[in-house]
Symmetry: C2
Subunit: 330 residues, 2 copies
C-alpha cells in the first residue's frame, strides 16, 4: 500500500574497519509484550521484524556509533545517550573490559515507538554482538540485566517483558522483578502471529501514565484467572484455551483509546478467524494469533486496507514465534 512506510532492506557491508579487527552482524527480534492479559509480565519474540547491529573491534578504547539507518534521524549518535552503546558499556564494565574499542552500526528495520520492543531489539542485538565478538558462548540470559539498563534509559522503566523474549526467544514470563525470575514458556508450534503497526504516535511513557494505579479486586481476579488460563493453554498446546484466556479488563480498555478503530480492527480480525486480538506492548501496534499463515496474511491485509481508508500509514508483519532470539547473520 502506497501509504505504508518501508524500511531499508539493503544489507550493510561487513568490510573490516580501519585499524580494527573483525566484525559481527547480528539480528535481534521484535517482541509483543503483555500478550493481552499479562501486563508487565508476559512477552514473546517474532521472526519479523527485528533490528540489526554491526559491531567491529577498533584500536581505540571506547565505543563509537558510526551509522544509524532507518530511524529518520530520531536516535542519538552520541554513545553516552544511545541505549545500544550504553548497555554494551555496562556489560564491558561488568567484565572489566573497558579497554576494548568498538564501533557500532545500528540498522533499524522496524518502526520506533511502535509497541514492538524497538529499543529492546536494538539493545539485545548490541549485547549479543559484543558477546559474540568476545567469543563468549555462555548462556545469553546473563545479558538480561544489561538489556534492562538500556530499556530503563529508553522507556523510563526497567521492565523486562520486551528484552527478555528478545534475548531468550520464545514466550517468556517475568515471574518476579525483585529478585529477577524469568521463566521460558512453551507454545503450540502452529501458532502464527499477525502484527499491524498503525503509524500514529503513542509514546510508551504516556501510554503507561494513562493506566489506572488503583483497580478493583474483582477485575484483578478476572485478569489472573485469564493469565493462568493462557499459561495453561501454552503448556497444553490448547489454542482454543489460549484464545478464551486472552482478555484484558484492565489495561486494554484505556490504551485502546489511543489506537485508531481498535475495536473495529478486533472485530475484523476475529471475523477472519483470529484466535485472539490485542495491543502489542503499549501500542499502537496490534496483533492477532492465528492457527495458520494464510489467516494471518488475510488479517494484516484487511487491517492495513482499513487503516489506509482512514489515511493512516501502516506496516504489516506475519510471523511464527521466534524461539531462537538474536542470531548472527550471514
Amino acid at each position: 500500500m502506497e501509504d505504508n512506510k518501508t524500511f531499508e532492506t539493503t544489507k550493510p557491508s561487513l568490510a573490516p574497519p580501519s585499524g580494527g579487527g573483525g566484525g559481527v552482524h547480528v539480528f535481534a527480534p521484535a517482541t509483543v509484550a503483555n500478550v493481552v492479559c499479562g501486563f508487565d509480565v508476559l512477552g514473546f519474540a517474532v521472526n519479523e521484524p527485528g533490528d540489526e547491529v554491526i559491531m567491529r573491534m577498533t584500536n581505540k578504547p571506547g565505543i563509537t556509533i558510526s551509522k544509524i539507518t532507518g530511524d529518520d534521524g530520531r536516535l542519538p549518535m552520541d554513545p553516552a545517550k544511545n541505549t545500544v552503546s550504553v548497555s554494551v558499556q555496562h556489560y564491558l564494565q561488568s567484565i572489566g573490559r573497558t579497554d576494548i574499542g568498538l564501533d557500532i552500526e545500528l540498522h533499524k528495520k522496524m518502526p520506533i515507538g511502535s509497541g514492538l520492543g524497538s529499543s529492546s531489539a536494538s539493545t539485545v542485538a548490541g549485547l549479543f554482538a559484543i558477546k559474540t565478538l568476545l567469543g563468549d558462548d555462555s548462556d545469553a540470559a546473563k545479558l538480561l540485566p544489561f538489556a534492562m539498563k538500556g530499556e530503563e534509559m529508553a522507556c523510563g522503566h526497567g521492565h523486562a517483558d520486551n528484552v527478555a523474549p528478545a534475548l531468550l526467544g520464545g514466550f517468556v514470563l517475568i515471574r518476579s522483578y525483585d529478585p529477577l525470575d524469568v521463566v521460558r514458556l512453551p507454545h503450540p508450534a502452529g501458532l502464527w502471529c499477525a502484527i499491524v503497526f498503525p503509524d500514529v504516535d503513542v509514546p510508551t511513557r504516556e501510554a503507561r501514565q494513562i493506566i489506572r494505579k488503583n483497580i478493583q479486586m474483582k477485575d484483578a481476579v478476572t485478569q489472573w484467572g485469564n493469565i493462568a488460563g493462557l499459561v495453561s493453554g501454552l503448556f497444553m498446546n490448547d489454542i482454543d484455551l489460549i484464545g478464551r484466556s486472552m482478555k484484558d479488563v484492565l489495561v486494554e480498555p484505556v490504551r485502546s483509546m489511543l489506537i485508531p478503530d481498535f475495536y473495529k480492527m478486533r472485530e475484523m480480525a476475529m471475523e477472519l478467524g483470529a484466535v485472539s486480538f490485542g495491543i502489542s506492548g503499549s501500542g499502537p501496534s496490534v496483533f492477532a494469533f492465528t492457527k495458520d499463515e494464510d489467516t494471518a496474511h488475510r488479517i494484516t491485509q484487511k487491517l492495513q486496507k482499513h487503516l489506509t481508508g482512514l489515511k493512516i500509514g501502516s506496516n504489516g508483519y506475519v510471523s511464527t514465534i521466534n524461539d531462537a532470539g538474536p542470531r548472527v547473520l550471514g
Copy 2:
C-alpha cells in the same frame, strides 16, 4: 494431643432402607482453595480429610435427611435448608426426576468453618451419590453447576474453587465464572501437603468481607506474575518454582490477622523445609507443600504443638494431592 478435636471414625452401616432400594456410601475430599496466589481461581483436593454421604432410594418421592454426625448439631436436618439435599434437589429437577425418593445420611469427617471446603465436600459427596445411584457414568464435571448452587447457599457466593477440585480431583483452575471455564492442571507427583486447622472461628462470609475491594495495580501485577509462575511450575514439575511463586501480597496480609500466630507458624514450617506455606481458603486452616511425607508430618506436629501451647485445639492432616475426587466406599 489431648486438646485436639477428633471426628467420628466409625463406619455407618449400609443396611437396606425400609421400603426402598439399595444405597451407596460416598467419600468426597477436602480442598485447599486460593493456593496462596490464586485467590478465587485455584484449588486442589487432598486425600484426607473428607466427608461421607450415605444415600438410599426410598419409596416416597422427595428427600429426607435421617442422620448427620460430626457436626455438633450445627447443620440443618431440614432438606430445604441443607446444602447437600438442596443441590441434589436441583440436580433431580434438571433431569426431570423429582419423582425419586431419597434418604441422606451425612457424616462430617472434618471441621466446619475450617477453610477446607467442608460444605463443598458434603455437597459433592451428595451429588456423586445420586449420580452413582442412578447408574449415570457420564463425566462428573456436569455436576459442577449444582455443587455451586449448594456453595452459594452455604457461603453466600457461588464460587467454584472448592467444589471444582472436590468434584474433579487434582489441581483445578477456574479460568472464568461467566461463562464457567474450568481447567484441570497437572502437579508434581511427589508434592505432599501438610494441613493444620487451628480451632478458632473464622466464618467464610466475614473472611471475605475484610478483603479490600480496591487494590493497587502494581500489587495485582505481582500477584499475576506469581500465579503464572505457579501454573508454570505445576506443568514443569518444578517444585522450587512452585515455592517461589506462592506469595500473596493482597489477601494473606489481611486474612492472616484472623489466624493465631500465622507468621510464626509460617516461619516454623519454612524452617522445617516447607516448599511454601499459606492460608487454606478463607482460613483458619493453614497448609504447607513439602517434597516428602516426613517433612509434612514434622510440620503438622510442630504447628499443633505450638497451638497447644497457645491453648488452641487443632487438627493435623498429611496427604498427597487427591487426583480421583469423590469415590464410592467399600
